[in-house]
Symmetry: C2
Subunit: 450 residues, 2 copies
């Protein structure tokens, strides 16, 4: 029987980073994947959506840049070409992961992992032994049993990424990140899009003011908030509106994006504690079984690709590295790659208040920013908000809505993780002109002293 | 005679930030400007160039996005519209500065400042008294007395921003940031562009490998390195090439971008020490005259808008704030907003070696990055390089070439200013997928331990 220091089940951003990092430290590692290297992120999530969203952005640019001097006629969107580009991106990244595994001497087996016990995993006829086991099996789209949920025009984020033709209209059930990104994409390329959301606002992790602005800026999208879907027919979606009145929303295609559920089937032999969110873990990603760890969506702690990767690093560091690391969740950034983009890191004002913290905040408009004006004009929308501790002035949260948000937010993560105070960041020089300067301006808006 | 706590001469990013910050601290401030609020940066520098470069980027997108699904026919570039947009941007920002001055109760006088002595400045018939004086008079394009430099088709970065028609061909004398940005702009909108540079490489502040890649990626531009311009005629530029042979470069327009010289005329009555680079200052921006400070280009220390603003803050903090601040130059980012973009902060490998420092470095290709691939494909060029201290592993320099560089570099500035070590940044979570992840990957390339 082949023996390994570490067996990793699942090859998404939790699994492959765990395998790579452990391999790079000289450990013998087996990674088992039932479908595709890269998992949901690379194949049906982060990467394909960002590829399509970028093409939609370029399409809008081609349509809307006349005022800046770029005239184009007969601008059309070619879904086939966009899908082919997306597919090439995915395949390039999969090859990259394959290469990474090879260069770190990670054995990769494609197939379904059957857990024999906490040291043995079977794939087909072969049983492998591992001293340690990392479960990184991810999550799948939740499909609640709404009447009509199994009709052929009802899709999840998986199927919608390989449609051959744009629908005339799309109803999106659920206004979380996935729903909003697809709504942004489809409406930008000319599809009539509506979002039906049960809560009173979209994007629950986002500051309320930002979510409202996001809706306002998604001009092609109709929002139905506080609405409960009651059924789906071949013509569309029935829901009861905020006042409880029945409504019908016509749509050629329906995207079900109401959440994701952890992939915990088949783990029975391990006797793991499994809660509503997924496998129960502590802050070192340890399960109740001593040599078994769970990272990424399957533990339900933070359903983000980069959280999964970081969890993988914590586990590998504690197992084989110098580390005595714990997973910290307070400085994990998120981004919504819509049109416009938004991103955040740390506490929102509301979260801080709920925690009873004494805080100071300021919000600034990006239209005071030179580069933003040069690229978007004075009528464009953009916001930056900072939340800081009232006494120590340590930065607790940074929230952005506008261009480059997703590429700037790591800097905020660095500041929050390093516990920088407002006065520390005020002494840091930001390049001019850059949208990033809005962060510094917002700090001065909180505390104008020098 | 009207008396002020502070008189600021010059309303660029050094002057207006000094005035605003001092005003916000309750001081009485007079700002004098001979031309336009915002100075070179807002009117003839950072802002207009970024506006035009953005329109050029959009033009290239409209021309080149078919592979990603965006088809457009008859794509044309309308210089008049681009110039009008640029002008609107400038005017909006100027109004913004005016509003900022008003809301901080800064008196603004338009006119030429004549320095009577270190406490008195005359504008026209009126003499103003100030307890302290900040000179922020900036710099102007240097025009060396090359034969033909005064021909009508020879322009500087000032005049080229208001041309009414694109030239068929442009010779750029000088391959610094200004030359490279204009070359990037004009070649992107269809002008035949050549750069003649005296040194062996363009962009002296940039890592050599990055500068070489930058040249390679500016596909429409011809580079003549190690070449000395000997004269300009109505047909073009004569130069002696790297081997000393005379050459002729035909060009309809010639851009002189060989550097900038400090605006120090008219300062005689102050009896300031003035060196080759400009007014001599210490690390608190003090001149040899006790109550006179010099910030920005006029002191020649760091010819960047954001350096000027930071210098202004240091002076105001020391004069009226809590501060005992010194100007630090080691973590000032720079950016080249070309196509592609590049940015850097801190030491290059060469600079570190010249200082005799023991360093470790790694360079990674952006084509390993998910978002980069999704947006640019596997044949696109992008680099990230990190320089760190070999012993302490403190990050000393970060260098980027590729999309979003100018918006990511503030994060590197924060890390360098905070003296973060590689292992500190490895624990910071970067959002996936983002180009910013390349920085973390580069740190792992230096030190793969966990």
């Amino acid at each position: 029987m082949e023996k390994f220091d570490l067996i990793v089940v699942g090859a998404g951003p939790g699994g492959y980073i765990a395998a790579e990092r452990a391999g790079s430290l000289g450990k013998s590692v087996l990674m088992i994947e039932r479908d595709q290297l890269g998992g949901v992120c690379t194949n049906w999530g982060c990467i394909p959506t960002k590829s399509l969203l970028n093409s939609a952005k370029l399409y809008r640019h081609a349509l809307e840049s006349e005022k800046m001097g770029v005239r184009a006629e007969a601008v059309t969107y070619d879904l086939d070409a966009a899908m082919a580009w997306k597919q090439e991106t995915i395949e390039t990244l999969r090859s990259g992961i394959q290469f990474l595994m090879k260069s770190n001497r990670v054995a990769v087996v494609m197939g379904i992992a059957e857990f024999v016990d906490s040291h043995h995993v079977r794939v087909g006829e072969t049983v492998y032994e591992g001293s340690d086991l990392i479960i990184a099996t991810g999550s799948s789209p939740a499909v609640p049993p709404i009447p009509g949920h199994d009709l052929p025009h009802v899709v999840t984020s998986n199927e919608i990424l390989s449609i051959g033709k744009l629908p005339a209209s799309l109803a999106v059930i659920g206004g979380g990140v996935i729903g909003v990104e697809f709504a942004s994409y489809f409406s930008s390329v000319g599809v009539k899009v509506s979002i039906v959301e049960m809560m009173d606002e979209i994007l629950p992790m986002m500051d309320g003011e930002f979510a409202k602005l996001m809706r306002r800026e998604m001009k092609g999208v109709e929002f139905h908030l506080g609405c409960k879907v009651t059924g789906i027919t071949k013509d569309g979606v029935s829901y009861s509106d905020a006042k409880g009145n029945p409504q019908l929303l016509e749509a050629q295609m329906v995207l079900m994006s109401v959440g994701r559920r952890p992939n915990v089937a088949g783990l029975e032999n391990l006797h793991l504690d499994i809660g509503r969110g997924g496998i129960v873990v502590d802050d070192r990603l340890r399960t109740n079984v001593p040599n078994v760890y769970a990272v990424g969506d399957v533990n339900g702690k933070s359903l983000l690709a980069h959280s999964a990767s970081r969890m993988a690093e914590v586990v590998v560091s504690n197992l084989y590295g110098a580390g005595n690391q714990r997973m910290r969740y307070h400085a994990i950034p998120w981004a919504v790659y819509g049109l416009p983009e938004a991103a955040g890191c740390g506490l929102t004002e509301n979260e801080a208040k709920k925690q009873g913290r004494d805080i100071v905040t300021a919000t600034t408009q990006m239209r005071s920013n030179g580069r933003f004006l040069a690229e978007h004009g004075k009528r464009a929308a953009g916001l930056c908000k900072v939340v800081a501790d009232a006494k120590t002035k340590v930065i607790l949260g940074v929230h952005l809505l506008g261009p480059y948000s997703s590429e700037m937010i790591f800097g905020a993560a660095a500041m929050i993780e390093s516990e920088l105070r407002i006065k520390d960041v005020k002494e840091i020089v930001f390049p001019h002109p850059s949208v990033s300067e809005i962060l510094k301006d917002t700090l001065f808006a909180i505390e104008h002293t020098l």
